[in-house]
C-alpha cells in the first residue's frame, strides 16, 4: 500500500516546526502504524535524511509510550494505542496527517516526541499506597466486593499515555487523575492515603498547568484503555470530600 504522509517535523523544543510531506511506499497492509513509520525512516536514513523522531516501547498496546495524533485523533483511530493501528484500516493512497500531542504541560522534545513527565510527577504526588514489607499475605485475607473490585480494575486499566489530555480542548488531565484516584480509593489498600491522595494529585495536576474539565468527554472517546469519564465524577466527589474532611479534622 502507498500513503501520503504529512508529518510534523520540529528540530527541538524552541525550533519552529512545520509539516513535511513524505510518501510511504510499498507498505504491507498488516504493518502497524509504527512499523510503517519504521519503513519510512529506513528509507530516509538510506537517503541520508534525518529520520522522523517518534516514541515507542512495548508495541503491544500496554505501555502507552507511542503518543501521537493521527488524523486529529490522539493514539489514532479505533481503540488501543497508536501501535495498535494497522495500515489495513486506511485506504490505499490515503493522506495521513501525524502530529505530536499539543498540550502545554507536555513540552515537545522533537518531531512527534513530547515529554510526558508531568503525569509521572502527578503519580509521585499520590498514586501510591503504603504496604507492609515481609511475607506475602494470603490472597483472600482482605475481602473486596465484586462491584468495587470491578470498578477499581476498570480504572486501573489506565496506562497513563496522555491521550486524554491531548484530546481535551482544554488540555485537562482529569481522566488520568480520576482513573488513579478512583482505582486506589475504592480498594481497602488505598484507604490510609485516601484524602491526601485526592488533594495532592489535584494540586499536582493544577501545578503542572493542565486545564480544567468542561465535561466534553473527548478524553473518554479516545482513551485506549476505555476509561469511563465517570472516574472524573468520582474525582470531583473525592476531592471535595477530602477538603471537607481535612478542614473538619484540623
Amino acid at each position: 500500500m502507498n500513503f501520503h504522509l504529512r508529518l510534523w517535523r520540529q528540530e527541538g523544543p524552541s525550533a519552529k516546526g512545520g509539516f513535511e510531506e513524505i510518501e510511504a511506499r510499498d507498505i504491507p497492509a498488516e504493518a502497524s502504524f509504527l512499523e510503517m513509520l519504521d519503513i519510512v525512516n529506513n528509507r530516509l536514513i538510506k537517503e541520508g535524511r534525518e529520520p522522523v523522531a517518534f516514541e515507542s516501547d512495548c508495541r503491544e498496546g500496554i505501555c502507552g509510550t507511542c503518543s501521537m495524533v493521527i488524523n486529529g485523533i490522539p493514539q489514532g483511530p479505533g481503540r488501543g494505542a497508536a501501535c495498535q493501528v494497522y495500515m489495513r484500516t486506511f485506504r490505499d493512497g490515503d493522506s495521513i496527517t501525524v502530529e505530536p500531542f499539543r498540550v502545554a504541560a507536555f513540552p515537545l522534545v522533537k518531531d512527534l516526541v513530547v515529554n510526558r513527565s508531568a503525569y509521572d510527577r502527578i503519580i509521585q504526588s499520590g498514586g501510591f499506597i503504603t504496604e507492609h514489607t515481609g511475607g506475602a499475605p494470603d490472597a483472600a485475607a482482605m475481602l473486596i466486593g465484586k462491584r468495587e473490585a470491578d470498578r477499581a480494575m476498570d480504572a486501573a486499566a489506565c496506562i497513563g499515555c496522555g491521550a486524554c489530555a491531548a484530546a481535551c480542548p482544554n488540555s485537562s488531565a482529569m481522566l488520568f487523575v480520576g482513573a488513579k484516584v478512583t482505582h486506589l480509593s475504592l480498594l481497602p489498600q488505598g484507604q490510609p492515603e485516601r484524602s491526601g491522595r485526592a488533594l495532592n494529585m489535584v494540586r499536582a495536576m493544577d501545578e503542572e498547568g493542565f486545564g480544567n474539565c468542561s465535561n466534553y468527554y473527548a478524553c473518554e472517546a479516545v482513551c485506549p484503555a476505555n476509561i469511563s469519564a465517570s472516574v472524573i465524577a468520582t474525582l470531583n466527589r473525592e476531592f471535595v470530600a477530602a477538603v471537607i474532611k481535612v478542614e473538619v479534622a484540623n
Partner: protein, 230 residues
C-alpha cells in the same frame, strides 16, 4: 516518595475542581431563579389581573425582594467570574490546535457554552433595562391598570409586538436552552453525583429540561406576537 506527608493543600477556590464546584452550585441557584421567573410570568396567560397582581405582590416584598436581587447579582457574578477564570487557565494549558480537527464526542451546545452564556448575559442586561429599569421606554412607568397597579400586561404586549424585541428574546431563550442542555447534565458530573450508568440519563433529562425552558419562555413572546393574548 518516602512519605505520604501532606503538603499544604491549595485553597479550595484556587483549585481546578473548587472553581468548577462554584460554577455548578451557582448554576443550580440560577436554574432555581429561571424556574420561578418562568412560573411567575406564565401568569400572562391568565390575563391582566393575574400578572399585574403577581407583579404587585412581588414588589411589596420590600426588603426581601432586594435581598433576593442582591443575592442573584452575587450568584450570577460568581458564575461568570469563575467561568472566566477557568477559561483563562484552559487557554494557557492548550497549545495551538491540531491541523486536523476532530469533534471527538463533544456536542455543539457543549462547545458553545461561553458564547451562549455571554449572549444570555447581554440579553439579561437588556431585559432588565427594558422591564425593570424601564429605560428603553420610560412611558412604561406611567402605565397603570384600573386598580392603580403597574400595568405589566400592557407593557409585555407592547414590547413583544415589536419584531426585533420578540426576535432577540427568542434567540436568547434559544441560547439559554443550549446552555442548559450542557449545563444541567454537566453539574451532576461536576458535583460528583453521577456514574457510568446514570450519566446518559442525566444527559437525556438535561435535553428535556432545556426544551421545556425554551417552550415555556418562548410561549410568551410568540403568544403576544401572534395575538393569542392581547
Amino acid at each position: 516518595m518516602t512519605s505520604s506527608s501532606q503538603k499544604k493543600a491549595p485553597s479550595f477556590f484556587a483549585s481546578s475542581i473548587g472553581k468548577k464546584w462554584v460554577v455548578a452550585l451557582t448554576g443550580v441557584l440560577l436554574i432555581g431563579f429561571i424556574t420561578l421567573h418562568l412560573l411567575g410570568n406564565l401568569a400572562i396567560f391568565l390575563g391582566p389581573e393575574a400578572i399585574n397582581s403577581y407583579s404587585e405582590k412581588l414588589h411589596h416584598l420590600g426588603v426581601l425582594l432586594w435581598i433576593v436581587r442582591l443575592g442573584l447579582l452575587v450568584v450570577a457574578g460568581l458564575h461568570v467570574f469563575f467561568t472566566m477564570a477557568l477559561w483563562r487557565e484552559n487557554k494557557k494549558a492548550s497549545l495551538e490546535k491540531y491541523a486536523v480537527r476532530q469533534k471527538l464526542e463533544t456536542t455543539l451546545y457543549a462547545r458553545s457554552m461561553r458564547l451562549s452564556g455571554l449572549v444570555v448575559l447581554g440579553f439579561v442586561l437588556f431585559h432588565l433595562a427594558q422591564f425593570t429599569w424601564e429605560l428603553t421606554n420610560p412611558d412604561y412607568k406611567n402605565w397603570m391598570d384600573a386598580l392603580g397597579r403597574h400595568d405589566v400586561y400592557r407593557m409585555l404586549i407592547s414590547a413583544f409586538s415589536n419584531l426585533w424585541v420578540a426576535g432577540f428574546y427568542l434567540l436568547s431563550v434559544g441560547l439559554l436552552a443550549l446552555h442548559l442542555a450542557h449545563g444541567v447534565a454537566s453539574l451532576f458530573q461536576t458535583l460528583g453525583l453521577t456514574s457510568e450508568k446514570l450519566r446518559p440519563r442525566f444527559e437525556r433529562v438535561s435535553l428535556i429540561v432545556a426544551v421545556l425552558f425554551f417552550l415555556g419562555y418562548a410561549s410568551i413572546p410568540l403568544a403576544v406576537f401572534f395575538k393569542v393574548v392581547s
